[in-house]
């Protein structure tokens, strides 16, 4: 397996990257985001939306297939989430054009957005733990062309 050095900062075991959060009228700010394969989608802290001047009360709750509002599930029980139109960008890639808003500390980059666009490999046991982030499909291509270890 060909291994490309990591592209994210690990603080403790938190893999962080810098993202831009952009909402209507091109209001934007830069924030740290955590790669979170446990998150369904991209989630932006409501405090960041407030700083961008978005009125949380005007955002709609996402609705599931049963017609009921979707609620987030966390260690402290379930919590309310809302949907906001806007972009989260990492480098030159738009990760999503709509995201969920919740009371959380970090922007979370989840499976349906970030992890479909990028391959991510965590190696916690390396002498210097790292995270590799490459465009989707790159890791598989590298593995195919890597010399057989034997």
């Amino acid at each position: 397996m060909v291994r490309v050095p990591g592209t994210a900062t690990l603080i403790g075991h938190s893999p962080l990257v810098k993202v831009d959060v952009v909402v209507a009228n091109d209001r934007r700010l830069q924030a740290t985001a955590m790669l979170d394969s446990g998150a369904d989608r991209t989630v932006v802290p409501l405090q960041i939306l407030e700083a961008l001047g978005v009125d949380y009360d005007k955002l709609k709750m996402p609705v599931g297939g049963n017609g009921e509002p979707i609620r987030g599930q966390g260690a402290d029980g379930d919590f309310e989430i809302r949907t906001c139109r806007g972009k989260v960008r990492w480098r030159t890639t738009t990760i999503c054009t709509e995201f969920w808003v919740a009371n959380c500390g970090f922007v979370l980059l989840g499976r349906d957005d970030f992890f479909k666009k990028f391959d991510v490999i965590f190696d916690w046991s390396a002498p210097e733990p790292y995270v590799d982030i490459e465009p989707a499909g790159t890791m598989r291509a590298l593995a195919v062309f890597a010399p057989d270890p034997d």
Partner: protein, 72 residues
């Protein structure tokens, strides 16, 4: 096989700043050029403090509270 480092590699913070961040549990920190330039209780407060200090838009980072587990 390990490929040489690529120019796409980045560190969000220097090791020096990583240690400094730990001094602000639960706070929203504003960073500019890898320096902590504002510390507040919300992104809006931190952005305001940085702006008043004359800084252009800063990178916002939330420092987890010590002893608190995060599950999402």
């Amino acid at each position: 096989m390990t490929l040489p480092a690529q120019d796409s590699i980045e560190r969000v913070f220097s090791e020096k700043v990583e240690h400094q961040l730990l001094e602000h549990p639960g706070k929203w920190v504003g960073l500019y050029n890898d320096e902590i330039v504002a510390v507040g209780n919300s992104p809006a407060e931190t952005l305001s403090l940085a702006r008043k200090a004359g800084y252009p838009p800063v990178l916002l980072h939330h420092v987890p509270e010590q002893g608190k587990a995060y599950f999402f």
